[in-house]
Amino acid sequence: MRHIGIRKWGPGLLVMIPSIVVIAVFVYGLIGWTVNTSLTDRTTALPADGYVGLENFTNLFQDDRFIHSLKNLGILTVVFIVGTMVLGFLWALLLERGFKGEGIFRSIYLFPMAVSFIASGVVWRWLLNSAQGDEAGGLNKLFDSLHLGFLQNPWWNDPDWGMAAMAIPAIWQLSGYVMALFLAGFRGIPGELREAARVDGASEFQMYRHVIFPQLSPVALSALIIVGHMSMKMFDLIMAVSGAQYLTEVPAVYLWTTLLGSNYAKACAIAVILLVVVAIVVVPYLISNARAEKRR
C-alpha cells in the first residue's frame, strides 16, 4: 500500500472496530484469563492462593503423559493436514473445469462435513475396529472379503502409529471443505488469465503450473490454517471414536480430563502450550506470507 491519508483508510478501520472489540474481549480476554490461571496454583475448585511462576509448565514437560499426548498430536496433525490438502486439491482440480453432473460429485464430497462426529463416531468406531480375521468388523472385514486381507491392521489400536489411523475420519470429513476452498479459488481466477496464457502458446500443464497455481496460494493458506486449527483442537472425533484414554490422548483431551479433576491451573497451562506451539508454527508463516504479498 502506498502512502494514503487517514481520510482514505479511516472508514476501513471504523467498520472493523466492532469486530476488534469483540475479538479483544472474547478471544484475547479469555486468552489472558487462561495465561493468568496457568501461572497460579489453582489446582482445585477453590480460588488460587497465589502465583507459582512457570511451575505448571515445567511439570508438564516432565510429564510422560503430556509428552505422549504431544507425540500423538504430531502424528495426527501431519497425516490430517497432508491428507486433506492433497485430497481436497485433487478433487478441486478434477472438478475445476466443470462438466455435467459435477454438482453431484461436489455435493457428495462435501457431505461428510454435514455429519457431526457425535453421530458418525459410532460408524467410525465400527469401521476402524481392530479385530482381524474371523472376528473382523468394519474396514478389516471389507478388506478380508475383497481378498485384500493384507491391508488389515489394528488401526488406532496400534501403540506407535495408531494416531495416523485416527486422522482418517477427520480427512474424510474435511477434504470436501478444502476442495470447496480451492474451487472457490479456481473460480476466482479471471478467465482472461487463462486465455492470455493460451494465446501465449502455453500448454495446459504450463498454464496450471505458472498461471493458476500461484494464484491459489492465498487460498492454500486459508486451507492450511483451517485444517491446522481443527487439528490442534481435535477433540470431538477422539472422544467419539476411542473415548478419553491414554492410547489416543492428545493435549485437548488431556486438558479436558484435567479440567474434570478441577485442576484449572494445569488445564490452562496445557491450553497455553497449545497456543504457543501454534504461534511458533503459524506466526512466522503469516508474516512471511504478508511480506510476499506486499512484494507482489
Binding site: V15, L46, D64, L128, N129, S130, G243, T257, L259, S262
Partner: protein, 440 residues
C-alpha cells in the same frame, strides 16, 4: 454524502443488533442465574441434574420422579440431564455451573471420594441434619455411612448401590476347558490363574475379556482388594498403605499376569462389548460391575446356564461398592424443594422404585429382598454381611484428579507388554499419583 448515509446505516444496524441483545437480557433480568429460562418465578421447580439419559438409569430416574410427583404434588421436577462421555460431559457442565453460582437444585455424583472436590471447594451443603430427621443413620449400613462421611459431615444421599468386584463367566466355555462351573469358584488369584491357563489350553484365545482404560482400572482395583485385603486396600486412599510397598508389587504382578490373558483389541471396546464376549462364548471371564446382570436379565439370559457369577477370587466377603447419590449445592434456588427430592431418594419407597428397574440394590438395609430379581437378592444379602470397601474406578475411593492420574498410568500399562519393566513403571506411576493427590 452517500458514504455518510451508509455509515449511518451500518451504525443503525449495529445498534439494532445491540438492541436485540439488550432486549433479551431485559427479559431475563429476573432470572439471576440465567439458565432456567422457563420461569424461576414458579418457586415449585426442582432442577435435578444427572447423566441418566438412557436404559435402566433413565427408567430408574423416571421411577424416582413418579414417587416424587405423588409425594410432593406442589413441586415440579425439572430434568437437567446432560448425556454423554460416561458422565464426563455432565461433570464438566456442572463444574461450570457451580463456578458461575448457577447450580442446579440437586445433582447426581458418585458417593465418596469423587464428591470431595466439591466439598473442599465449599460447594455442597452439609446434610447431617437431614440424616438425623429422616433417621437414615439407622437404615444405611454403618460402613457405607463411614465411606461417605467427610470430616464428620455427610454431604450426599445415596440412591443405590452397585458391586464392582464380580466375575462373570460363561459355563459352557468353562466346561469345555474341563472346569466344573457348578463347583466352588477359585478362592485366590493364583487358583484363578490356573483356571485361566486351562481355558487358554482349551483353545480360547481370550480367557479374560477386558475393554478400555477404566475397565482395566476396575480389574486392578479388584486385584488390589484380593491381594491386600479390605483394610490395606482402604489404607491406599488414606496413605496408610504405601503404593511402593512389596504387597502392592505382588498385586501388580498378579494384575500383569491377568492382563496377559486379555484381548488385544481392548482399547476399542467398552464394557458391554467385553461382557458380551463372555455371553457369546468368545471369552470365559469378565470382571465388571453388577450392571451386567441388569443387561443380561433384560436380554432374558438364564443365570446358571447362560452365565454364572462370583466375587473376584480372593475378595470373597468384601463388597467393592459404588453408589450414586444426590447432593444439595450451596446457592440452590429451591433448597427446600431439593430437600424434598433428597427425602424421596432416601426413602424406602423411592429406593425401591429406583433400584428394581436400574438393576442395582437399595442403600437401605430395610429393603425387602423379595422385590428384586435373583442376582440382586444375593447382592442385598452380601451387602448386609460383607466388609464394604469403596470402588476406585467409580469415584467412591479417590478424588477425580487422583482417579485421572491412576487411569492414565493403567492405560499406559495396557499398551505395554506386561513385563516386569512395565510393572515397575506402573508402580512408580501409581506412587506418583498418590503423592500428587494425597497431600491436597
Amino acid at each position: 454524502m452517500r458514504r455518510l448515509s451508509l455509515v449511518a446505516g451500518i451504525a443503525a444496524l449495529g445498534l439494532a443488533l445491540a438492541g436485540c441483545g439488550g432486549d433479551d437480557s431485559d427479559n431475563s433480568a429476573g432470572d439471576t442465574g440465567g439458565n432456567s429460562g422457563s420461569g424461576t418465578e414458579a418457586s415449585g421447580d426442582v432442577e435435578v441434574f444427572t447423566w441418566w439419559t438412557e436404559g435402566g438409569e433413565k427408567a430408574g430416574l423416571d421411577g424416582l420422579v413418579k414417587v416424587f410427583g405423588e409425594k410432593y404434588p406442589n413441586l415440579k421436577f425439572v430434568n437437567g440431564a446432560v448425556a454423554g462421555g460416561a458422565g464426563s460431559n455432565a461433570k464438566a457442565v456442572l463444574a461450570s455451573r457451580l463456578q458461575t453460582q448457577d447450580p442446579p437444585d440437586t445433582f447426581q455424583g458418585h458417593a465418596g471420594g469423587e464428591l470431595s472436590d466439591y466439598i473442599k471447594a465449599g460447594q455442597l451443603e452439609d446434610l447431617s441434619d437431614l440424616y438425623q430427621s429422616e433417621g437414615w443413620s439407622d437404615v444405611f449400613p454403618k460402613t457405607l455411612i463411614d465411606a461417605i462421611t467427610y470430616e464428620g459431615k455427610i454431604y450426599s444421599v445415596p440412591s443405590n448401590v452397585h458391586r464392582a468386584n464380580v466375575v462373570w463367566a460363561n459355563p459352557s466355555v468353562l466346561e469345555k476347558a474341563g472346569i466344573d462351573p457348578a463347583a466352588e469358584p477359585p478362592a485366590s488369584i493364583a487358583d484363578w490363574i490356573t483356571q485361566l491357563d486351562k481355558v487358554k489350553a482349551s483353545g480360547v484365545e481370550t480367557p479374560l475379556s477386558i475393554a478400555t482404560d477404566w475397565t482395566q482400572v476396575q480389574l486392578l482395583e479388584t486385584v488390589l482388594i484380593s491381594d491386600l485385603k479390605a483394610d490395606a486396600y482402604k489404607g491406599l486412599w488414606t496413605g496408610d498403605t504405601k503404593w511402593d510397598s512389596a504387597e502392592v508389587t505382588t498385586a501388580l504382578n498378579d494384575y500383569a499376569k491377568l492382563m496377559s490373558y486379555t484381548n488385544s483389541n481392548r482399547s476399542s471396546l467398552d464394557w458391554p462389548d467385553a461382557a458380551n464376549m463372555v455371553r457369546d462364548g468368545k471369552a470365559a471371564y469378565n470382571v465388571m460391575g453388577d450392571w451386567v446382570a441388569a443387561n443380561w436379565q433384560g436380554e432374558k439370559l438364564e443365570e446358571g446356564t447362560d452365565y454364572i457369577y462370583f466375587p473376584v477370587p480372593g475378595s470373597q466377603g468384601t463388597f467393592d461398592f459404588l453408589s450414586d447419590s444426590f447432593t444439595l449445592p450451596v446457592g440452590a434456588k429451591n433448597p427446600e424443594g431439593a430437600k424434598d427430592w433428597l427425602r424421596v431418594v432416601g426413602s424406602a419407597e423411592g429406593q425401591k422404585a429406583f433400584n428394581t428397574v436400574k438393576g442395582s440394590i437399595p442403600a437401605r438395609t430395610d429393603a425387602s429382598a423379595a422385590d428384586y430379581p435373583t442376582y440382586q437378592q444375593s447382592a442385598i444379602k452380601d451387602f448386609s454381611t460383607d466388609t464394604i470397601v469403596p470402588s476406585l474406578a467409580h469415584g467412591a475411593a479417590a478424588s477425580i484428579s487422583w482417579l485421572n492420574d491412576i487411569t492414565s498410568a493403567v492405560g499406559k500399562f495396557g499398551t505395554s507388554k506386561f513385563d516386569s519393566g512395565a510393572v515397575s513403571e506402573l508402580q512408580s506411576g501409581l506412587t506418583q499419583a498418590a503423592s500428587n493427590n494425597l497431600q491436597s
